[in-house]
Every structure is written in C-alpha cells, then in structure tokens.
Symmetry: C2
Subunit: 349 residues, 2 copies
C-alpha cells in the first residue's frame, strides 16, 4: 500500500473479459489480474468509490459479453476491462451528495475489489441491515424486483390460478413461486436437477416441480402437472419450453416474458411454432424489463422486508468465495450449476 501526498493507492484484483464470446461462455473467456486504484474520488467529480463486498451473477450479463446489436438493451462489456454487474459495496469515499463514506450501497459496479463508480444512477443506499447484505444482490435487489413486478404488475394474478415457472429455483423463479403461493395459486416449477426439484417442493413450498431434463416430452409433462391448463406462465427459458407451454395455456392466459436463458448462447435462436395458440386461447404475452419499474422499489421493500423477517418468504443463495471464483460462478449459470441465486463474495465487510 503506497501513500502519495496523503492519497492511498492499493492493489485491486479484477475479473477481465478477454474478448467477445460466441456460444457458451467459458471460465477462460475471463481472467483475473491485479491492478491498482487510488482510494479517493477525483476532485470535481460526482463519483463514489466503493469496496465491493458481494457481486451478483445474472443471466442477462451474457448479452454484454458480445458486441451490441439491435437486440441489446444494455451496453456491451469492453474486452480487456473488468466486467460489470450489480453488487453490494461499502462507500470509502464519495463526491456525490446522496452517498457518504461508510454507507452501504447496491447497484452497478465492477468485478474487482474496489470500484470508482461514475454512473451513480443505479445506486441505492442500503438502509436495512438486519437481513444478510448479500440479499441486495437478489431477493432485495434486481432479481427480487424482477419477480415482484413480473408477477404482480405483468401477470395480473388471481387466487386459485394455475401458475407455471421455468428456471424456477433461480434467483427470480423461487420468489415468483412463493408470491404465487402467498396469493393462493397452484404453482409448479421446472428446474434442471433433482436437488433443485427438491428445493422447489420442500423449501419453497411449490405444489409440485419436475426436472425438465428427465422429460422427453415437455407437452406431456405439462399435461400431467396441469390437467386443467396453465393460467400464468412466468417465462425464464424460451425455446422448446415456451412451445410446450403454448399448447397448454388456458383461455385468457398470461405469459410474462422475463428471460429466455436457453437461447442466450445459441447462434440462431430456436423457432417457436405454436404462436397460433395466442389467438386460440386469447393470450397476453408481455416482455418486461425491471428497469421500467424502479419507482416501485420503496413499495417493494415495504412488502419484502416483513416477509423475510417473518419467514413468509425464504431465499436460497449459492455463494462462491472470492473474486477468483467469479468466472466459474458466472459461466455456471448457463449450465445450471448454481442452486439458487449465484453470488460471489469479494469481502464480507
């Protein structure tokens, strides 16, 4: 640690994107290196300097690992630079009026030990610390908001409806299922391992769950779990699953399109063939981005914090220790290696 004119410079471990990625991302598409950083925000800036504590691995980050196209809603990463994502950090220095040294924040930060955050629009101050800080990468952060607005704002759910959730044990799916159960819906989820299916049934209280990898005929599986059909499909995977779901939707059903993780690593997306059922069953299908709904964040917190404190909603995280484990944790999302919300711990305080 060097001190120059009272300014502390420290080493800064970073996860760097080697180059744009085609196909499934691999650990070797990233590398860990050590740079240095001055623990002080530049004079005259509006920036915030944070020590990163928890980093969030989210499926949408795949889209930032390739050059921007007109299918992009967010900028690409810069090869040779640290990747960027949401995380929880502690403010070490701030030139921004809303943040001061010692504050805990969550929002967009770098995959590194320390980040100088110049785009502060996405930063939220963390005011409730009686829950695990890592929760602000998940249940109390972007994925939690995604589940909340996707279910309550997009799905128009009603008590007693039949709800299907794909990628159901993930950061978003596990919450959507619990929201639906709290409302009195019948909820079935799909996931990719026995361990995840057990979680859905025994931890998250889904009415039922199945391992899609063991179902050669998804249509038949859905007919078994939903003999009356599906009112609400919370779409996280796309492709063949969506095609099978379309065959099983009920009249006036709703499909909230949150993500299509099965498609992110394909050169060409799979074609979806059963869209005629949108007409036959008069289905509402709506894509959404959580970024349109952050004005609801205070209301969301008022709902979620009591749920968590009273144990009405539980949350499962998959914690990877250390920044070095970040690349494997991130690429693991796309093979379904994670069980629950994938978090990388950089430091605990």
């Amino acid at each position: 640690m060097a001190s120059v004119k009272g300014e502390e410079v420290v080493s800064n471990k970073q996860v760097i994107l080697r180059d744009y990625v085609t196909g499934y991302p691999k650990e070797s598409d990233m590398y860990v290196t050590t740079g240095s950083i001055k623990l002080k925000v530049p004079e005259g800036s509006n920036a915030v300097l944070v020590k990163n504590l928890y980093l969030s691995c989210d499926p949408y980050m795949r889209s930032r690992m390739k050059p921007a196209t007109n299918a992009s809603y967010i900028a690409s990463f810069t090869p040779g630079s640290p990747i960027v994502g949401r995380g929880v950090g502690k403010v070490l220095d701030s030139a921004h009026p809303n943040f001061k040294k010692g504050d805990l924040v969550w929002g967009m930060t770098g995959w590194e030990e320390y980040s100088l955050i110049t785009e502060t629009d996405s930063l939220f101050e963390i005011q409730h610390t009686d829950v695990p800080l890592s929760y602000y990468t998940g249940i109390l952060g972007m994925p939690g908001m995604t589940a909340y607005v996707g279910f309550y704002e997009v799905c128009s759910p009603k008590k007693g409806e039949y709800v299907f959730i794909s990628a159901a044990s993930g950061a978003v799916g596990q919450l959507v299922g619990q929201f639906a159960k709290l409302l009195g819906c019948f909820v079935v989820g799909s996931a990719g391992s026995k361990e995840k299916v057990d979680l859905l049934k025994n931890k998250f209280g889904f009415d039922d769950a199945f391992n899609y990898k063991e179902e050669p005929d998804l249509d038949a599986a859905l007919k078994r779990y939903f003999p009356e059909g599906i009112d609400i499909y919370f779409e996280n995977v796309g492709g063949k699953t969506l095609d099978a779901v379309l065959l099983n939707m009920r009249i006036h059903g709703r499909i909230a399109v949150c993500g299509m993780i099965s498609q992110y690593n394909l050169d060409q997306p799979e074609g979806v063939k059963n869209l005629m059922f949108l007409i036959v069953k008069r289905i509402h299908m709506q894509g959404f981005l959580v970024s349109d709904y952050y004005h609801l964040y205070p209301k969301f917190l008022d709902t979620m914090l009591p749920y968590i404190r009273e144990g009405k909603i539980v949350y499962v995280e998959d914690i990877a220790e250390g920044l070095e484990s970040g690349p494997a944790a991130l690429v693991g999302l796309f093979s379904g290696r994670n069980v629950g919300k994938q978090v990388v711990v950089v430091a605990r305080e």
Copy 2:
C-alpha cells in the same frame, strides 16, 4: 316446387365439403349438389329458416376444414355436409321470438340457397339497409368488428404512432388502416400484388404500402418504411413477417394477433425466432377473438354507420357471383386471389 299439405318444398343448391383437407385447399375439395328443403321451420323448434343472399369467405374457415385439435376454437365442418360460414339472409319462416318473416339477418348459416338455422345465437337482425346488404359480411359484420376491437381494444393506439398492418387490403386490414389514419397514426400496409398496394395507397389512404412478394428482405423493407420503428403491428399473417416485425418494434410496442394466414396450410408452422425482442422492447403481444367482444356490437354500429354514410371509411369487396363460384372464392383467399373482402352472392333479394 312441390307443395305437400301446404308445405312448400324447394330445390336447394349446396356447397359440400368432400373430405378433410391437408395443405392448401383446392376447389375440388368441395362440390356443388342440389338437395331439397321444406320452407317451414319444424313445429316446436326455435329455428329460423332463411334464404341466403350473401356468404362471407373468411380465413378462419380453413381451420374448420380439418379434424378438430386442441388448436381449434370452433367445430370442424362435417365432410359430406354443406360448409358453414357467416352470411346475410332473409327470414322466410321463424319459430324464434326475436325473428319474423321478412327480417334481414346476418350470422352463421350454411353454404346453400336456403338454410334452417337451429343455432340462432350468432344471428343479428339487420336494422339499417341504406348501406349495401353485403356489408354485413364485412365492414358491418365479423371482419368489421374484428378490426374495430382489435385496433381500439387491443392495440391501445395513440395519435402519431407508427402502425404496420399485414394482409392490409383484406377484409380486416383495410379497416384497421383507416381507423389508424382517422386517429392520426402513420400507417403502412403490406399486401401481395401491385393492385392491392395501389388500393392501400390510393383508396384507403395508407401513408405507404409494399408488395411483400417483391421484398426478399422483409427486415430491410420494414426499416425503409419505418426508420423510427413500429409502435403497433396488426398481425394477420404470422411466420417470417412476424419475425421481421419483431426486429423493428419500438419500446413498449403492441402486437395484436388477429390471424396467421401464412401458417394455416402448413403441416408444421414456421418457427418464430426473434421473440427475445419481446423483452428487449417490452412488447405486449395479445391474441384475440372477436367472439369475446360482441357485446360491443351496438356501439360499433353507432360508430361505423356514420363513417360509411359520410364517406370517412370506404370498403372494397370482391364479389363472386353465384353459389357455384363459392369454392373458388374460398380457396382463393389462401393464394391471395381476392382483392378486398371476398363475398359470394347467392341471391340479391
């Protein structure tokens, strides 16, 4: 004409479905025969006996020419029996309290000279005859209602928005475009011939129109006509057109899924690949059936009749003369032979 105990029996020409159809329907899938009918409703029934005047050719009828599947929302035709569709008729006899001899009606009837209608739920009495009676198969009937509810109820249109309509010169499309123009939208339509494109531009007042058969790259065509993108897509064709439209939708765009005529005669529907854009652009895609909206029919008439009388909305029909021309007229829908709403005249009064 024979009279038995005062009951008149007349000959009754009919269009019969030979057998279920695979692939594109052909004229030879139907044949014309002559039966006989008693021009009196059975005692104790609720039936209505009509002389058919105008019969409507509608794309959805293709789905009734094959065995019912879980993709059917309406019963199949019965091979060996007359096909069934909407039409305009004159009541010759009635046991139903809502209809009396001499009334003009529109609704579900047989493709024959005279029909005994026992399922009378779909019948509407025609009260305004200062407009062409054939209009009740189109602009004032099911296609008109489809355009009206599809545009106003499903698309949530706003002045100044960019609207694209496929199969735009058809019975529904030509009206959607005129509704959109009346609201102050920018409207472009696609159709399958120069004659239709001319109609769209010169008769219906679309801002622009193109022949999709002359556009090897639909994405490029849409980018040319909508450099700012599309707010509202009124979907009548499906398949490749939908895929190209998805690439060109604007944020918070809406897609009203009315029909997918390009898919009706395929063994396997084409796969639609660009559904990720539903998320990226936060698109609402909604399938609808006009049958959910007939409670709005009186309001619809109150809107449409003045529009027609004042010339604010025009309507183009393609009239086939005589029941014998029915099979060719119906199958012509699927090759795009018709220019405007396809009607078959059985009798003029």
